[in-house]
Subunit: 279 residues, 2 copies
């Protein structure tokens, strides 16, 4: 059960994940810890201002936390970005989003990492879990083979697909759909009518092990793997990565944050994310 | 009901679609007629040898038909390719596949067209319907907007997605998944346990209108639209189109045809398709 009530605006830390259920919180803490322990010395500490590490709107109905750690110059990791977001809904419920993404530099062409859990009710969960490719897979079948076929990532997707409560999730933004790999997990879990606690059970027994296996593959094969990238490929990657980041901010938080937090706080948070993105 | 029994090996025509149910046959005839009437004078006649227009294995358990019409030199259409395939299954049932695809030349970068209906039992249907993009959509958001957002293609996908019998279909080949657009329809319809004739009803009432709308969009916006393609883009398109064709033959029919028809007939059919692809 949640550690905090929505109206309590005392400072909260990123790793508290204060508004989500225990299995959801445990999963996020485990994933962030796994990445930070493995990459450890490659990452600079999080130096975000306190009012970005925990921010909230005036009425206290929306709050969030941002956690960004950049890679040192010798690292292939550009930065990791963790966040949680909690918004009371007019209907009485709450929207809770937690995410962890990891971006690599153009010194490697290996895929990035992304997990996002969206709970808009106690019986529903949207899960986005992917190693988004950094090249056009149609033109680069050998890249597809290395990172998606040989790693058997599709078996993870199939594991979750077998659950009767799972249906595919489609982002309303077509551009966001284009960013995914062919093994991406984009699902909506709906447990309406099932026994209480079923969604927590699915997170603990199914989502948790799948997410941990995916982050392990990403750490082994992508973050810590060696790739040869020449200058032409490097500038291609910089162009493509940059375009994705700009479009993603615009589509994703660029539209929702001003509405949830007002223009000033939204601009503060967006500014910090833009800075991390443009390194 | 089917017009022919499986053991009857009298010559059959492409437009007969002899082994599928009436709604399925009517849909295919309508689609091919619509394309041929609209593109009419742009297309050369089908000049395939008779033993390619209708081919079968020695035991008569598998047969198929191929129909290819190339575009004249002044046309943006490279070629259209229609086919049907009928294979008796060891279990007593039959596998029936019908398809229509249309490829454009590198003088335009507009999407191609593809529809494929796969029936492996009287209560199941796999439908693949897409305008496969010819550029990396991540790098070309304006292309995404022109052909996929402005055309509202996703509303067609959503229409079918609402049917309770529909589940997503995933090709086992990851490369094939990479070729699709974000509005692609890749579904499996399963009517096991429903009233008899339900699958025919779904084809007639739901698949048919959606497919006709998609082919209309493709004819208006892609086959007959004007695009400016410079020399650099043209060679990019030629490279990408060529790679897709080679990989598709290899993955799709390259593996199944020798098994179904023996090496000689398989090589005859594959040779004709390769020639059209590389024409």
């Amino acid at each position: 059960s949640p550690a905090s009530s929505p109206m309590d605006n005392t400072p909260k830390k990123f790793m508290d994940f204060p508004f989500v259920t225990a299995p959801h919180r445990n999963l996020m803490i485990d994933l962030v810890s796994t990445v930070e322990n493995r990459l450890g010395s490659q990452l600079k500490p999080c130096t975000l201002p306190l009012d970005v590490q925990h921010y909230y709107n005036q009425s206290g109905t929306s709050q969030g936390s941002l956690h960004i750690r950049s890679g040192h110059s010798s690292s292939q990791v550009d930065f990791i970005l963790g966040s949680w977001l909690h918004c009371e809904l007019p209907t009485g419920g709450a929207l809770n989003i937690t995410s962890l993404s990891a971006y690599l530099k153009a010194s490697t062409d290996a895929p990035n990492f992304l997990i996002e859990l969206i709970q808009s009710s106690p019986t529903s969960l949207v899960l986005i879990l992917d190693l988004p490719p950094r090249k056009d897979l149609v033109l680069h079948p050998e890249y597809l083979q290395t990172f998606y076929e040989n790693t058997q990532l599709d078996s993870l997707r199939q594991t979750l697909d077998k659950l009767p409560e799972v249906r595919p999730y489609y982002s309303s933004a077509l551009y966001i759909r284009c960013l995914t790999s062919p093994t991406s997990i984009m699902i909506c879990v709906d447990t309406e009518g099932a026994r209480p606690g079923r969604i927590e059970e699915i997170i603990k027994d199914h989502v948790d092990p799948v997410a941990k296996e995916a982050i392990g593959i990403w750490l082994d094969q992508c973050a810590c793997g060696q790739r040869n990238v020449d200058e032409a490929e490097k500038s291609y990657l910089e162009k493509r990565d940059g375009l994705i980041k700009n479009k993603t901010i615009q589509i994703d938080i660029g539209s929702s944050f001003p509405r949830l937090f007002g223009p000033d706080i939204a601009e503060r948070i967006l500014g910090v994310i833009r800075e991390a993105y443009n390194g």
